[in-house]
Structure formats: C-alpha cells, structure tokens
C-alpha cells in the first residue's frame, strides 16, 4: 500500500481507485474467527432516506419535512437505529413525506422519466405497465425483489385506484406512497441463512449482505448491480463479495459512505439543537453551522478518499475548504463569492486539523462560553472511544459559569478552582487538560489569544504526552495509540449497526494492525471490513455476544484514562 501512495496522488481519485482495486483482488480473510452478532432491524436515518430517494427517483424530487429524531447509542446513530421504532407522530411525518414524493414521481415533469412505460389509456388501469414500474421501483426501495404476493397486491391496489379515480397515474402514486411508508422500506430488515461453509454457523442472506455493503460503503440502498449480484448468488462467495466491494470502494460514491460515517461519529446531528448567544457570537448562525459541518466532511473526504491519506492526519492537516461565511469566522479571505475554496493554513498558524474547526469547538461548547470540560469529554469519547462518566447531580457549577469573576479571568483559572471540590476532581483531570488545549477558540470557533485580558495558556498533557500549545496538542492526538483503535471499532459498529462484542476483540485487534500496516488508509480499512466474513456473520442462538457492554480492542488505556 505504501508504494501505491505516490501514483494515487499523481493520478488523483482515478489512480487511487485503480490502486485499491489491485489490492482488493484475491486478498484472503485470514483474520481471527468471530461468532458474529444478531441480525439487525435498523430504521433508516433521515440522510439515508433522502439519499435513497435521490438515487431511486432523482435529485429533482424534493423530500419535504423533517423526520422523527434518531437516537445515538454507543457513540453512533448507526447503532441507535437498531433500537428505533416509529411513533405515531413519526409515522405521520413519513406519510406526509411519502405522499409528497409520490405526487412528484407522477407529475408531468417526472413521469416520462421515472415510469418506464406508457399506459394504453391514461384514464384506466394498466396492469402490465403498473407491474413493470412497481417491480422495478419496489426492488430498489425494498432492497430485494418484491414477493409474488407483494407485487400482486401492489398492482391490484394501483389498478383499483386507477379505476376509481379514472387515472392510471393516481394508482402509481398510491403505490409509491404505500411502499414509502411500509416497514420493508423504512427499516433495514436483515435475514440470516445457514453458513454452508461453516457448519452450525449462520450468515446474512444475499440481499441483507447487499444492503449492509451498500449502506456501509455508499450510505444508500443497493444499486441494480449489487441487487443483481445478490439475485445471481454472487454474494454467497468470497470472490463475488470481493468483486462488489472492489467496485464500490473504487467508486467516487465511497466518499458518501465516508462522509456519512464521520458525520455520525462526529455527532453532527447535534447541530440541529445548537444555539449561540448572538450578542456574544454574532458571526454564528444556522448557515455557518451548515457550512461548518460541510467544511469538516470535505476536509475528511479530501484527505482520506481523494488523496488516500493517513487517517491520523485529520488531526493535523493544514488543508481545508472554506466558504466566505466560514472565512468571516476564521478571519481568512475567500475569493470565490459562492461555493467552496481550498485553503491551506500556513505553517505555524494555530488552525490545523478538524479539532480546530468550528464543527468541533462550536459543537462542544456552551451557548455563551467555551467549555474545556465538554470539549475534553467529546474528544475522549468521539476520537478515543473512552467513556467519561456524567457529572453527579449535585455539582455546583457557579464558579465555572461566572466568566466575569475578577479573581478567575480564564477558563483554566476557573476550572482550577472548581476541581478543588473532591467529587469533581477525578473526571475533570481527564477532560480539562484536553479541552484547555483548545481554549484559543471561542464558543463559536473564533480565534482568541486572551480571555478577560489575560493570556490563554494552552499547554498541557494527555495520557502522559505533553504539548505546548494547540498545534502540539493536535500532534499528540495524531500520535495517540488509541485514535486508530477507536476508529476501527467505530467504523465496524457503523457498518454492523451494533457495538462490537467481546468475542470480536481479537478480530478487531487484527484489523487495527492491518489498518496501521496500510498506513492508516480508511478506504482500505473499509474494504477489508466489507470483504471479511465477520462483517456478515450472524450469531446462532445461545452464542450472541454481549452487545450491551462495549468492549473494544486495545482499550487498555481507557481504564487508565477514566480513573
């Protein structure tokens, strides 16, 4: 892999794609065995829903409204969706959205493109044409072929509607709306079959494999190629899976999967409720919040996918992308009046890596002040997978909240006084040194060198590694041994929809070593996971691992850190 870096950079994404394809072919899964986990039933996230609609019906179809909020579990919404249902109000939102989409599918602007046949008489039912449309569309929406009964019922309902309303397209509209609110669409329903290669074990069936693959790598439902492969039984073989994985990892659409993973891992859903006091931070607003998320995702996708870079460099990279709006927050000129512009911070500039971007420092702050504690907690939990206990209920926060206290000008001074309280000291010693390293950035992400006219000191120590300033801090996180371990665990959980089990610790340790050996290349890690047997293995009754307790490979330092 190291040898492939240079051509990948030279030839850009295309060269990189070829390089990945070469690596993928013929690779053996010699990882330690696992017992797998249970099949999952995962509700589509809102971004997944929107992406599917765009893929199936085109980007000109508008998806109105917002959906029932997702739940985060073990650090990921992807895991939380396995525990989701649909509430009554949530179903109403799905129904309204489905009707809105269905009406667009059959409108004059879209019907000729989206409906592959023309009814003999548009005022009457046409079962043949309806069957053609519903079979094709249903297969894409349900991520498997419709059963005979499902198809027959859909066609009958569409025909009855067309007859009653005197409009063939009204029947199609009803059918589309119906499919979009059906559990088969809204939930990713996995099914298992016996693993013929391993007696007594089970694995996902071909269509479930296709879905798991597609959502993992592309953040959307399987395309026709993948569904065809499943139908032909190609996904029942290692070679067949490898072929599809290689196709998908080398596709530009891999960036969608990488972006979806990081959006989830970084907790960007939190921006929906993020508020800043406009009198203190007038530059922050909803448009900045949108751009801030996109900035980080572009930074990550450019580094990890386009340039096949080292994952750890997300903490130190000087290259990013800016809009004029973000330029005003960062006090950086942006020439393009609209859209995005590449920007590289000069050597020595305090901005480097995603930890210094608005998306991290603003998301993990209070509305009216920064919070070294929240930032420290977030860094440990998001990037190092270390669980920091919640504060006890009777903590007196008055001192840390009083930013105008004449005796304590800076957050460091206030927190220094606060942790003298014995019940607070333990956790604050874990969080605060980390968060204080980012105190050069205010609650909205703006740069500052002083607080209340006192200089901000950003030196500190994390897990035995010392740093002088925020740049030194980003390098320490870059080199933190737990960072790639956490990434491997998170990305596996993102793909499987569950926290890894104790049984999988050895397998994950193996993947961490492979990740390091590859130069911490995320596409290669995703390809390796997607090609593995463990990714599709389903536990048999009585052997399910304890999913409730997060056990992570290589987490020795976690216990140390959380003491």
């Amino acid at each position: 892999m190291v040898m492939l870096n240079k051509p990948a950079r030279v030839f850009g994404a295309l060269g990189f794609a070829a390089a990945i394809a070469l690596v993928g072919c013929g690779q053996k899964d010699d990882a330690p065995p696992t017992k797998g986990g249970p099949v999952s039933l995962r509700r589509l996230t809102e971004p997944e829903y929107r992406q599917i609609i765009a893929d199936v019906f085109g980007t000109t179809i508008k998806v109105p409204g917002r959906f029932q909020p997702d739940t985060r579990d073990n650090g990921l919404i992807a895991v939380g969706t396995s525990r989701e249902s649909v509430a009554g109000t949530g179903f109403e939102q799905y129904d309204l959205t489905a009707r809105g989409i269905a009406a667009q599918v059959i409108d004059d602007a879209h019907r000729a493109t989206l409906i592959p046949c023309t009814p003999a008489n548009a005022k009457e039912k046409d079962d043949a044409c309806a069957t053609q449309f519903i079979a094709r569309t249903g297969r894409l929406l349900f991520r498997r072929p419709l059963t005979k009964d499902e198809l027959a019922n859909q066609v009958k309902d569409a025909g009855d509607t067309a007859t009653k309303l005197g409009n063939f397209y009204s029947g199609i509209e009803l059918s589309v709306a119906g499919m979009l609110v059906s559990p088969q669409f809204l939930f990713r329903q996995e099914a298992s079959v016996a693993d013929s290669d391993n007696a007594g074990q089970r694995k996902l069936d071909a269509y479930s494999k296709a879905s798991r693959l597609s959502f993992f790598l592309w953040d959307t439902s399987p395309d026709l190629d993948l569904l065809d492969a499943a139908e032909k039984g190609e996904l029942d073989t290692d070679a067949g899976i490898a072929k599809q994985v290689d196709r998908m990892v080398t596709s530009p659409r891999l960036a969608g999967g990488v972006r979806a993973f990081f959006s989830d891992m970084l907790g960007f859903d939190g921006f929906a409720a993020l508020q800043k006091d406009p009198t203190i931070y007038p530059k922050y607003g909803s448009a900045v919040a949108v751009d801030a998320q996109e900035q980080t995702l572009r930074t990550v996708a450019d580094l990890l996918v386009t340039n096949n870079g080292d994952y750890r460099d997300i903490f130190t990279t000087r290259k990013t992308y800016l809009t004029r709006l973000l330029g005003s927050v960062y006090a950086v000129p942006v020439a393009v009046p609209t859209g995005w512009e590449s920007h590289t911070y000069p050597e020595g500039d305090p901005r480097a890596g995603i930890l210094t971007q608005v998306s991290f420092v603003a998301l993990h702050s209070h509305p009216g002040r920064s919070s070294p504690t929240i930032r420290g907690k977030a860094l440990r939990e998001v990037f190092l997978c270390q669980k920091v206990p919640d504060p006890p209920g009777n903590v007196n926060f008055a001192l840390v909240q009083d930013t105008k206290n004449p005796a304590f000008h800076t957050a460091r001074a206030r927190l220094g006084a606060h942790i003298n309280q014995p019940t607070c000291a333990g956790c604050h010693k874990i969080m605060d040194p980390v968060g204080l390293a980012m105190e050069n950035f205010d609650s909205a992400g703006g740069f500052r060198s002083t607080e209340n006219s006192s200089p901000i000191v950003t030196s500190g120590e994390i897990d035995g590694m010392k740093f002088d300033d925020v740049l030194g801090f980003t390098k320490v996180i870059h080199d933190h041994p737990q960072a790639p371990v956490c990434l491997v665990n998170r990305i596996y959980a993102f793909g499987t929809g569950r926290a890894s089990s104790k049984d999988e610790a050895e397998w994950l340790n193996y993947q961490v070593k492979q990740f390091a050996a590859s130069g911490y290349k995320v596409p290669e890690l995703m390809r390796r996971i997607a090609s593995s047997k463990a990714f599709y293995r389903i536990s048999t009754p009585g052997t399910e691992a304890n999913n409730a307790s997060l056990s992570m490979a290589g987490t020795g330092s976690q216990k140390e850190a959380t003491k």
Binding site: P278, S328, P337, D349, S454, T458
Partner: protein, 397 residues
C-alpha cells in the same frame, strides 16, 4: 488585497501589547479593509433648539392644506383623505392624483416642482451640525459649529433643509426613520461599499495614508444580530465610476482626508450615483476594528431632490416630505458652484459612515487571477497571538 487589522483581537495585557506592537511595527505600514455597515444623511439632533419655527407638517396635514388651497371644501378634503394613504387608481386614492398635479392642476408636480408655489419648509436654525468647513470660511452666516469638536465654519446646508422634517430626526443612537429604512433595503440589495486605508504605520497616528473607496461585486451579508457581518471577503468592482483615491492622515485615532471628488454608484432606491466635490472624510479608527464618522462635500442639489421626488407620491406621503417645499428649500440653501444666473448648483452635505473590517480583494489584471496576498498577510498576526501564551509562560506569566 487588504488584510484585517490586528485590533480586532486586542490584547489587554500590557506585556502582550508591547509584544504585539513590536511585532506589528516591524513592517513599515499596513493596509486595512472595511465594508460600509451604515450610511445615512447626517442630521444632528439637538432637540427643540434645532427648529425654533417648529417641525414640518405631516403629509396628512400638508395634503389637506393643499386641498383647501385648491378650493376643495373642508368636508370634501376630509373625505378625500379619509382612507389615507389610499391606493393609486382607486376611488379612495383620488387625492393622490390631485396632489400629483397640485401646482397647475395638469403638470406632474414632482417632475416639475416649479409648477407649484413654494409652500415654505421649516429649516434648521440651530447652530450645531456635523460636517466640514468646505469653503474655509469660519464667519459665514450659514456656518455651523461641530457639536463634538467645537470646530467652527461647518457647512451642511443639506441638514439645514432636511433637519426639521420629522422623518429625518431621531435622538441618538437611533437613526432617523427614512435613512434607516433606506439603508435597511440598500445593504441587502446593493453591492457593498468598500474602504481601504493603506500606509498605516500606527492606527493612532500615521502621517500619510491613502484611502480608497470602491464598490464590491458582492453584497454585504448580515450576522446573527442583523448587523453587517465583519471579516467577510469582497471583490472590488473595476467599474471606473467607483474608484476613489484620497490622501490623508491619522491623528489621535481620527482619520481625515484632503478634499477630493468622491463618486460612488449607489442604487436608485437611494440615489443612482453620489458625486461629491471637495469631499472629505473624518473617521474614528476604533479599537474594536470599526470605522465611524462623517463623509462630507458638495453635491448637486437637484440630484438630491430627485432622489426623493422620483418616487412621487410614495416618499412624499410615507416620509412626509413636501416635495415642492423641499425643492425650493434645496435651491435656496444651495451654497456652491453658481451657474451663469448666479444660482448655486451644489449644496454642502454630510453623511454618517460606519464600517467594519473586511477582506478587500482585487483581480490581477494581467492574469485575471484573484489576488489573495492580503489575507495571508493577516495570518502572521494570528501566529503572534497564538504563540503569545508560550512567550508569556516563558516570561513567568
């Protein structure tokens, strides 16, 4: 391109300031960029003493006066104004048509104000106003005194005309209604106005600075408080109509410029184009990174009249500006550039100007490539500040 200045991130600590000063002054001079965040006619508010003859009537009042003068009975005049402001072309807007020809009952009074008599405008008779001594005379009977500095000989006949119209009056910090309403529209609708100050060796005192006033190709945007967003990037519009280069100095934190022509393309909602002669700037260079002060100069008085009259009845009724009265007052108070008949063609004016830091960028004419060196130039200062903590720690702070 103009870089942002360091004072947007002031250090209060003496040691820090000393270090910043040393670092900042290592280079001979700097250029700072700004985007105009407020622009409106300067109408000093000093209370009742400004207008001892009283304020001018509201439009309902002078419309009724005119209806009566035209011979409408009291009851009919009242009936005509019953649904004021009414709708043009509708029966209840009949008074609009009458007012539009109130001079000779056939001519558009807004386009031809001399078809009307001079109703007389109550004018400012107070002694205080902002502006400049544009003609160098301190003993002129039209002179005002600057309320802040006590400078005598201030010429601002535009204020004398407008200052007793209610929509031009507001106790600070409020802005007069009409100016605020106009700017609220313009700042969103009009490409931004840009200011650059170059040759600045010290933001408090610089003997020789160059000030450019240009227009951007981009619009200003607002921040979460509704104010013009600071630190945004703007590309200079190469339109030769808005390329002004002034020379001046900064003394005790106040920038003043030598008299020069200033021409700025604006917006028909306000005025299609400003063109001042003998214009000057007096702007306080704020420690928060802002500029705030006055632009003043002589301006063609009829162009100013037409900037109100072009909308006819709309601005007359909504801002209570009696257009014929305004016309005659401006003509009467014009104080410079007489024509062959002796009638002055220009009037002394003053406008409030405020600006916030911005990146001002230009295209490289040779390569058509956007230049961004100024923005990069801003970043060494960030580096100074970022490492400040380390230095101070080493010094034992």
């Amino acid at each position: 391109m103009t870089r942002l200045h360091s004072l947007t991130r002031p250090l209060g600590l003496a040691a820090g300031l000393a270090l910043m000063t040393a670092a900042g002054h290592a280079s001979a001079s700097e250029t700072r960029g700004y985007v105009v965040s407020w622009f409106g006619v300067s109408t000093y508010y000093g209370g009742e003493s400004d207008c001892p003859d009283g304020l001018n009537p509201m439009s309902t009042e002078f419309y009724k006066r005119e209806l009566l003068r035209l011979g409408y009975p009291e009851a009919e005049a009242t009936k005509l104004l019953k649904d004021f402001p009414g709708n043009p072309g509708k029966p209840d807007g009949e008074y609009i048509k009458i007012m539009g020809t109130r001079g000779d009952k056939k001519t558009n009074v807004y386009a031809h104000p001399e078809s009307s008599y001079d109703p007389g405008l109550h004018e400012v008779k107070g002694k205080l106003a902002y502006g400049f001594n544009l003609d160098g005379k301190t003993d002129s009977p039209i002179s005002f005194t600057d309320p802040d500095t006590g400078e005598k000989g201030i010429k601002n006949q535009y204020y004398r005309t407008l200052g007793c119209i209610r929509s031009f009056r507001a106790p600070p910090p409020a802005h007069p209604t009409l100016a605020q309403a106009q700017w609220d529209v313009l700042r969103d609708e009009m490409p931004a106005w840009l200011i650059e100050i170059s040759g600045m060796t010290d933001p408090k005192n610089s003997d020789n600075v160059t000030v450019t006033i240009t227009k951007a190709t981009d619009h200003a945007s607002r921040d979460a408080t509704g104010a013009i967003r600071a630190d945004m990037s703007f590309m200079v519009d190469p339109d030769p109509r808005t390329q002004n280069v002034l020379h001046g100095k900064i003394k005790d934190g106040v920038l003043t410029t030598e008299p020069a022509d200033i021409r700025i393309v604006a917006d028909p909602f306000l005025i299609p184009e400003f063109h001042w002669t003998k214009a000057q700037l007096k702007l306080k260079v704020g420690e928060d990174g802002s500029l705030k002060g006055i632009l003043g100069g002589y301006h063609d008085w009829y162009a100013l009249y037409w900037s109100y009259a072009e909308s006819g009845w709309v601005e007359e009724h909504s801002a209570s500006v009696d257009m014929p009265a305004l016309y005659y007052s401006l003509k009467r108070n014009a104080d410079a550039y007489p024509d062959a008949t002796g009638q002055n063609t220009a009037i002394s004016t003053a406008y409030e100007v405020e600006a916030v830091p911005a990146f001002v960028m230009r295209k490289d004419d040779k390569n058509d490539k956007k230049v961004s060196d100024a923005g990069k130039a801003a970043q060494p200062q960030q580096r100074v500040e970022a490492t400040m903590g380390g230095w101070l720690r080493k010094l034992g702070w």
